[in-house]
């Protein structure tokens, strides 16, 4: 994005509006659908405007890690498919995909979303391992917040498969959900010039000077942070951005609860 384009965008923001007519702190319409993959133990598809993202949960029985013999495992992975944007390429996950997965992972993990002790079948021997895969279908901005919402919706929708003689029977699906205690949602606030914006379009992401991703639980506690973008932030700016996230989080949580 060149300087003239950025100036043009900032003129819009100064007038309190966006290219698609939204207010600065207004989300595009969000649509959450679960059960989108019958192959997964749990799945969800989240559309935010034209952004389209899926998450699927697979459950497997594994040996626990040595330092946590009585806890199940959680893994979050993200794939930015070249199907979803001309900017994405085939091959192993790049920086953006890894950041997406790790930040969403932290939000879920630090909020103690899943009671991992309840995922233990036999201490030191057999625990459930929960794999969440986030994949993109169409990138029209704000993949981080949409992906986090999809991940949580997929976890909530997941049901354990059957177990026969200690081996998972994927043909059978029980009615038992994953023990979910908390519902962290992720809000990314972008700073463009001196304006704060949520749910950015791709051109706003490109123009942004800095961004702060904030995972917030239902008690309004901050559970994960990630600062991105080349510009610096003051404590005052961070305080305002966190305030926006805490205020906006219930709007998003409402969509999946």
């Amino acid at each position: 994005m060149n300087n003239e384009q950025k100036k043009h965008l900032i003129t819009y923001l100064a007038n309190g509006t966006r290219y698609d007519g939204r207010g600065l702190l207004e989300w595009r319409p969000i649509h959450v659908e679960t059960g989108v993959s019958q192959s997964a133990e749990g799945s969800a598809r989240v559309r935010v405007g034209k952004t389209d993202i899926m998450a699927g949960v697979k459950l497997a029985l594994e040996k626990p890690y040595g330092d946590t013999p009585d806890q199940g495992n959680l893994m979050v992975n993200a794939e930015l498919y070249p199907l979803s944007s001309p900017k994405f390429e085939t091959g192993p996950p790049g920086e953006q995909a890894i950041e997406l997965a790790r930040v969403i992972d932290r939000g879920i993990r630090e909020a103690k979303t899943i009671d991992v002790k309840k995922l233990c079948l036999k201490s030191g021997e057999k625990v459930w391992s929960v794999s969440v895969d986030i994949v993109t279908l169409n990138d029209d901005g704000d993949l981080m917040d949409a992906g986090a919402l999809a991940a949580l919706a997929a976890l909530q929708a997941a049901r354990f498969p059957g177990v026969k003689e200690g081996i998972v029977d994927y043909g059978e699906r029980t009615s038992t959900p994953i023990p979910i205690d908390m519902h962290p949602v992720t809000v990314t606030v972008y700073l463009i010039d001196k304006y704060f914006v949520v749910d950015p379009l791709p051109e706003e992401e490109e123009a942004a000077d800095a961004r702060l991703t904030i995972a917030v639980d239902e008690h309004g506690m901050v559970r994960a942070l990630q600062k991105g973008g080349a510009e610096k932030l003051t404590i005052d700016q961070i305080d305002k951005m966190v305030g926006i996230a805490v205020k906006k989080a219930p709007e998003l949580r409402k969509l999946i609860k």
């Binding site: 989108v36 993959s37 019958q38 192959s39 697979k58 992975n77 169409n138 990138d139």
Partner: protein, 236 residues
């Protein structure tokens, strides 16, 4: 014990319920979804665009490049590890060969048309669903095409010639087991552009199966055309 009734109750020559939609991925130049039973394929087309790495460029013509991928949670059992496998590499190749006969990319030297196929859920027949979706996506991208391409797996389960096998049928073990034959057909001429087989079948049953594939692909072709028209025909 003959295979008297199909596991899902279909007639031996019956396809599973099909849904098809064009234009599902706005960022792409062309896109489509094709769902047959519990197998769903999304296809997106990008291009013709510059081809990198440069040494792959052909100054005489553009090339077609297919990329098939099962989403990590789309497998029949355990999680599918992301990243290419020997299987997906082979599928990329046979998909390209299945689709290239209907395209003419001579006007796009040094370029590539990329086709990406992603599967969120699978119950056999994935390469065929991928090809069928890809053909619609190529048409949606506005590329000049001689025909569409429709694909379906036919084969033999026990003593019966069948179309559109599901996983449970592929795993059938009694009386000679199962034979799986993915076939892609150019619907207008009936010519075949994808043909693979594993199992065991007599030459006469093979011919019967291929004739069945032709008939079934023409049924799929009607659904493809309808989906394309839904996007492009202006409602009065």
């Amino acid at each position: 014990m003959a295979y008297a009734k199909r596991f899902d109750g279909r007639k031996f020559d019956e396809l599973r319920p099909i849904t098809a939609k064009v234009g599902i991925i706005p960022r792409a130049d062309g896109s489509a979804m094709f769902q047959i039973g519990k197998t769903t394929a999304y296809a997106a087309v990008y291009g013709p665009r510059d081809l990198h790495p440069k040494f792959m460029q052909n100054p005489q013509t553009g090339i077609l490049r297919c990329n098939y991928n099962m989403m990590p949670f789309s497998g029949h059992g355990e999680r599918v590890r992301p990243g290419g496998s020997r299987r997906s590499k082979e599928i990329n190749m046979v998909m390209e060969k299945a689709l290239i006969p209907v395209l003419d990319l001579k006007d796009y030297p040094n370029s590539v048309v990329d086709v990406f196929v992603e599967l969120p859920q699978t119950d056999a027949g994935t390469r065929c669903a991928g090809i069928t979706a890809a053909a619609m996506a190529l048409a949606d991208a506005g590329l000049e095409m001689k025909d569409l391409v429709a694909a379906v797996a036919v084969g033999k389960v026990g003593d019966k010639v069948v179309s559109d096998l599901i996983y449970d049928e592929e795993a059938y073990e009694e009386e000679g087991g199962a034979t799986d034959i993915p076939v892609a057909v150019l619907p207008r001429t009936g010519e075949i552009t994808l043909l693979q087989l594993d199992g065991g079948i007599s030459p006469s049953d093979l011919k019967k199966a291929l004739e069945l594939a032709q008939v079934k692909c023409r049924e799929i072709y009607e659904i493809q055309k309808k989906a394309l028209k839904q996007k492009f025909v202006v409602k009065a």
